[in-house]
């Protein structure tokens, strides 16, 4: 499947950018393959004892993956981002802001 360009247009809040920066530091402290581009996805969370729900999932592509992934990088608010999204989820992100709160995680508004 080829991603359907153009990717949805969205932005990050300043708080979300700071949270991503914190997560990048934590990733780099934990994993030898350093964080490179930010991965943005829409995931389904399945708790062990409650109903599933969906949310923005933020992660990183590691430096070793960038040779393969470089062509998929887009710039969003100055950050290298790789959208790991299906076309059916594009409307969720189009025109939205990815924000962050400590008691909510990342969310769209």
């Amino acid at each position: 499947m080829t991603p359907s360009p153009p990717w949805p247009t969205y932005h990050f809040s300043k708080i979300a950018i700071k949270a991503i920066s914190d997560l990048r530091l934590d990733w780099n402290n934990r994993f030898p393959d350093k964080a490179a581009a930010v991965g943005v996805a829409w995931g389904t969370i399945i708790p062990n004892n409650a109903h599933p729900f969906q949310a923005v999932v933020i992660s990183f592509y590691a430096e070793s993956q960038m040779a393969e992934m470089g062509q998929h990088v887009v710039k969003v608010d100055g950050m290298d981002v790789i959208n790991f999204l299906l076309p059916k989820d594009f409307p969720r992100f189009e025109g939205k802001i990815i924000d962050y709160a400590d008691n909510r995680g990342f969310f769209l508004r």
Binding site: M1, T2, P3, A19, D22, L23, L25, D26, W27, R30, F31, D33, G39, A41, W42, G43, T44, I45, I46, P47, N48, N49, A50, H51, F53, Q54, A55, V56, V57, I58, S59, F60, Y61, A62, Q65, E68, M69, H72, I82, F84, L85, L86, D89, D102, N103, R104, G105, F106, F107
Partner: protein, 162 residues
């Protein structure tokens, strides 16, 4: 009640099985990353939390589920427990961010010729995160638990949607 005590109350209520020392260490780690040092008042708070954690142990009874104070530590005699005690000492904001990372355990690829993407499954202990994505490039090897808090409240060992 101080902001710190209020946040401790909330966190203790949401994670009734989590040791208070874990919360304190987590907070210190986060603060160090942002500010490079721990100010004296926070160092005092953390020291006090460590001391109080020995007094209010993990096996100490909590306020029962269903109560507005559910999950808080209690002395069992109606006292305020660790949270109120801390609140009498300090009044600084407390923030939490999870640093747990889920690991990719499976990639479920659709049959050839379909256009539904694939499913990447990440495992967080007893919970899973499933991320659908394109077939023609790699998925992330790990995702963060911090990204999965949205849409739920945590209370009395039960995770609920809102």
């Amino acid at each position: 009640m101080s902001t710190l005590a209020h946040d401790f109350n909330n966190f203790a209520r949401h994670f009734p099985s989590m040791p208070i020392r874990w919360i304190a260490l987590h907070y210190a780690k986060r603060h160090l990353k942002s500010h490079q040092r721990i100010p004296p008042d926070m160092a005092f708070m953390l020291t006090y939390v460590m001391w109080a954690d020995r007094k209010y142990s993990d096996s100490q009874p909590r306020v029962p589920a269903g109560s507005p104070d559910g999950g808080q530590w209690t002395s069992g005699d109606g006292g305020g427990g660790i949270v109120d005690t801390i609140g009498s000492f300090v009044d600084i904001p407390l923030q939490f961010v999870s640093m747990e990372w889920g690991t990719l355990i499976a990639e479920l690829r659709p049959a050839f010729g379909t256009d539904t993407g694939r499913l990447c499954v990440y495992q967080f202990g007893d919970q899973s995160v499933i991320v659908p994505g394109p077939n023609n490039f790699s998925s992330q090897p790990n995702v963060t638990w911090a990204s999965t808090w949205h849409g739920q409240i945590l209370n009395d060992n039960v995770r609920r949607r809102f």
